[in-house]
């Protein structure tokens, strides 16, 4: 399974640092690609913009998608991914600060695979990251692409 990347969509560098730290501490071996806004995330996934020419047949193992993002927000990114056949089954975990009911409902309606609130307490944060890694990277199975 090596070579499969984890795409982290996170605009806040502190959160990015903490997330990477947590992933590392969770013994996740996959490469982590970080994009800092929605547009960049879409460019990466669809091989456009800065990622022009990237082999888009290689999809991330999972996407940790924040909702509050510059340019194009998380829910819009999710909607675009679910519109595209290729990315329709891509595991997308909403990883965000709030647990607003509205956000949760919208996310699931758009086809999010999970919704996880980032705990304030880092120990819990770490635990959550660990669990995600175990579940989505090890336990969860996805069909071979096409």
């Amino acid at each position: 399974m090596k070579g499969k990347v984890i795409l982290v969509v996170e605009d806040n560098p502190r959160d990015e640092a903490l997330t990477l730290r947590a992933l590392k501490k969770s013994n996740v071996v996959n490469d982590v690609v970080v994009v800092r806004d929605g547009v960049e995330a879409l460019d990466y996934l669809f091989g456009t913009g800065a990622y022009e020419g990237r082999d888009t047949s290689i999809l991330p193992q999972m996407v940790l998608l924040d909702l509050k993002l510059p340019k194009v927000d998380g829910l819009e990114v999710l909607r675009r991914l679910r519109e595209e056949a290729r990315t329709r089954r891509l595991p997308v975990i909403i990883f965000t600060s709030s647990s607003e009911e509205e956000d949760m409902v919208k996310s699931y309606n758009l086809g999010a695979n999970s919704y996880v609130r980032k705990p304030v307490e880092f120990d819990q944060f770490l635990e959550a990251t660990k669990q995600l890694g175990i579940y989505w990277l090890l336990l969860n199975e996805v069909p071979l692409s096409e």
């Binding site: 903490l18 909702l67 709030s98 880092f122």
Partner: protein, 814 residues
Amino acid sequence: MELTQTSSLRITRLQDFSLVTGILVATFGFVLLLVSLLNLTSLVDSIANLTSIKANTAVTFVLTGISLSLIVRHQKWNRLILVLSSLVTVLALITLVDFSLNSEPSIDKPVRMAPAAAVAIVLIGVSLATLAIPRAVSLAQGVAITVLLFGFIPLIGYAYNVESLYSFGTYSSIPLLTAICFVLLSLGILSARGDEGLMKYVLGESVGGIMARRLLPAALVLPVVIGWFRLQGQRLGYFDASMGTALLAFTHVVVFFLLILFNARLLRRTEHERVASVAEAARLSMEVQEHLSERNAATMRVTQSQAQLTDLIDSASDAIIVADGQQRVTLFNPAAEKMFILNERDVLGKPISQIINVDQLPDYLPRPQRFSQAKPYLIPAVDSEGRKLQLETSISHLESARGKSSTFILRDVSERRRAEQVAKESEERLHTVIENLSEGLVIADLDGQILHFNRAAIRNHGFNTLDECLLKVSDFAKLLELSTPDGRILPLEEWPLPKVIAGEKLRDYEVRVRRLDRNWYRIFNYGGEIVEEPNGRPLAFLTATDITERKLAEKQIHRLNEELEQRVSDRTAQLQAANKELEAFSYSVSHDLRAPLRHINGFSQALLEDYEDKLDETGKGYLNEVRGASQEMAQLIDDVLELARVTRSEMHREPVNLSELAEGVFAELKNIDKDRSVDIHIQSDLAVQCDRRLMRIVLVNLIGNAWKFTSQRPRAEVTFGQAQENGEKVYFVRDNGAGFDMAFAGKLFGAFQRLHTVSEFEGTGIGLATVQRIIHRHGGRVWAEGKPNEGATFYFALPNFGEKGDERESDTSS
């Protein structure tokens, strides 16, 4: 008139003369009888020196004298007069028969009555007898004139000494006194009936009468007197026979010429007087005529007014009865006939008391003079069929030349009075109601002629008096302009009244009425239809309700409603904007406020881990405080966000089993805090209408608090149950924990208010505020009772929605 009086006076005097004559002759005869009976004939002869009068002649004188007197004074004694005069005639006839037989006189001894005297006496008897017979006066008077001549001839004979004139034949002569008596008797007979028979020509007022009265005495006396003078003159030898005759003729001519001349003058004067008196009479006649024509005119007027009066009496609806002074009916008009069911001809002349009981009328009899009472009397009466009448009676009495009369005017008020009174009262009542209706009422006939406006209608249409309104409906077009509520001007045929007259039943016909003559308009709600009077006459009536104020009020309300709606929508928009802001705020709080806390916490942790060897215990302790504080802050943010969410979120009421909900909460708490041993009491099946999610938050907070504040109790006890308080269902959560001072009870439900230190019991102080907000959103109440160290009880009451409607009502009202 004067002439007639003169004439009648003359007749009376003649009759007196006639009476005197009769008495004189009778007395004379009586004296002669006495003389002959006492054989004093010689004495008489010596005194009178006359041929002695025979006894039978004397008897006839007595009888004729009495007869004449009786004729004058006692005309009704006709039979006695006839008997007496017949006796006289018979006596004289016997003498005459005696003469004709030439025999020994049977009565007259020693000297016979002269045959001429006997004839005269027969004539006198016949004359007297016929005088007693009516219509034979002329004959009697003719006979009397004959007798007069009989008497006159002997008198001339005595005057001229011509024996042959008073001595007839050889047997006897007529004595002078007898001849005088004949003259007197005949004059007496003529005078006795001066106004009848032949004498009326002499005594009448005609010119002939006057002439006869003047010339007759002269014709009778003057020739005799002049003849006597001629004879004396001749005897004494003053002139011879031829001269005497000539003188006689001349004297006659002169005397009669003068006499006739004198009479002619007199007659002429009389004629003048006559003409004058005729003219006077004509004038008088004219006056009389004028007077008469005036009287005729007056009579005409009287006749006219009488006709009117008769008409009036005949056509009067009141019975009129007139009675005369004897209280007998003289007039009974048709109304009276109808009232009493009697015919006038049957009651005329009958006593009034048979019809009306006049005794019942006070003042009627005691005051027979004219009077009229002001107030009619009420007297009972009965008609000819026995029906009882109650008569309103007025009487007037009148006394005129034709006598007294009383007029009764009667009106039957028995049944009618009551009916009338009832009708009148009913009408007055209806009138009062109609006039006091606040609704306008208009009545018209089907020609559109207004018959009535009630007061409200007059006022509502801007008029002052009923008279102003009694027009044709078309006349109102000059005064009013009618239009629909949206301003279309109505032609006359679309006006309410013409529509009703056309047969339409109007209901709620809203019309704007404008007065053209002033700045005035009202809005009316018209209704109406055609109704029929009991007599079948159709009437159009219209009701007009002035709804101007109502319309204005409606307009105002409409405007206010619009304003209110506008304000509500403004408010709602503001509220929505505020909510949006709040949501945006909450959103950003939950995202952006938590992120730094997470960073503080995360990096503190990283510091502790990565630089563990460079930090002493104090440094590590500080970093742990930083982490704790960040966690607390995160909890606070979560609680505040929940409080905000409780306010914002929509409510979904449904039946909720609170007991089950509480059990779930306890189970969670036990799961989290596995070390705690708490006695839990839950009353089962407490169901209520509420929002499940919000009510769960309530129980989480209340039970959580109880759980928390009993943590220091060796035997913790928490009860969830229901109680009745003033008939209201009250739910409670009771614990035997730390409790609180009631002095601070008011602070319990305020946000961020805490009665305990964080070191004692952790918490943000927002839980009870959230509870209160949720209960209030349900329309309920929440309160608490407690004592320090003895525990606390938190109560909440919810209005009972969704169960039986009437229960809900009684619950909300209690």
